[in-house]
């Protein structure tokens, strides 16, 4: 049986896998940074 030429589908599949994982990692980092800033701001307001 002849092997199908499916390289483009493999690239698309892994682009989705790596892409979504990367976006999620970035979202974790951005949310962490924003919450840190929120904590700092709220503590400053509390101290006043």
């Amino acid at each position: 049986m002849e092997t199908l030429e499916t390289t483009n589908y493999m690239i698309a599949g892994y682009a989705v896998i790596f892409g979504v994982m990367l976006v999620y990692l970035v979202s974790l980092f951005v949310r962490w940074r924003n919450l840190k800033q929120d904590v700092q701001l709220l503590q400053e307001l509390e101290d006043k």
Partner: protein, 232 residues
């Protein structure tokens, strides 16, 4: 908030190394499948991401029970963290599966029992995220989250057994194949090693991400407490 624990830093490095090794095995160690060609390589991470999805939903159901017994908010934070990670990985599994299906089945999507039940699982937990964000009282939200995570988990084993009980074109990797399955293949020892290693690596990725997401949840909880304190 405490600084990043030393063990978490080590786990981050170990996870990154394991992930790179798994990627190397998928592309350079596992042989190309003779019928489907290169797209079959999607299989290794497609199943591993689905596994992480199911693992997280199971963790959320377990900590849901613990929350209802102990009423400690930290278990709600763990449950939310597990569900968020699982939603992301289950989505990856669904989309990568659809891409694999196109050349193998000749269609991006079909309402096969496995695909249908997997979509239901994703929607059930997406609804969990939306519904809990609409509840302001933290204790009520945590109670709702725990009950929902336990009831929602019913949909997960249904997905797992759907391809074993019903007539489906989705291949069964573990526990024998269906006569109607399309895209089924026999794994060579190298394929099996890559597959098992990918499952292990994604389990480690799940633990690492869960730890990070729990820390984020604790920080969000602290912000919420500070805001409530200022309002009252």
């Amino acid at each position: 908030m405490q600084a990043k624990p030393r063990f978490l830093k080590i786990l981050d490095v170990v996870t990154a190394i394991l992930f790179l090794v798994a990627v190397g095995m998928v592309f350079f160690y596992a042989p190309m499948e003779k019928t489907m060609g290169q797209v079959q390589r999607v299989f290794y991470f497609h199943v591993a991401t689905a596994w992480v999805g199911m693992l997280g939903f199971l963790v959320a159901a377990i900590v849901g029970v613990i929350y209802l017994v102990r009423k400690e908010r930290r278990w709600d934070i763990v449950g939310l963290a597990a569900i968020e990670i699982s939603l992301v990985f289950f989505l990856i599994a669904i989309v990568s599966g659809s891409i694999w299906a196109r050349p193998t089945w000749g269609t991006w999507w079909t309402w096969d029992p496995r695909l249908t039940t997997a979509t239901i699982v994703e929607l059930v937990y997406a609804a969990y995220m939306m519904l809990r964000s609409g509840i302001e009282d933290p204790d009520r939200r945590a109670r709702f989250g725990a009950v929902y995570a336990i009831l929602g988990f019913i949909s997960v084993p249904l997905t797992f057994i759907s391809i074993r009980l019903l007539r489906t074109i989705h291949p069964v990797v573990i526990g024998g194949g269906s006569a109607s399955a399309e895209g089924d293949f026999s794994m060579t020892p190298k394929m099996l090693q890559t597959f098992m290693f990918s499952l292990l690596v994604f389990s480690v990725i799940f633990v690492d991400l869960l730890w990070h997401r729990i820390r984020l949840g604790r920080l969000a909880d602290k912000v919420e407490q500070l805001r409530l304190k200022m309002v009252h």
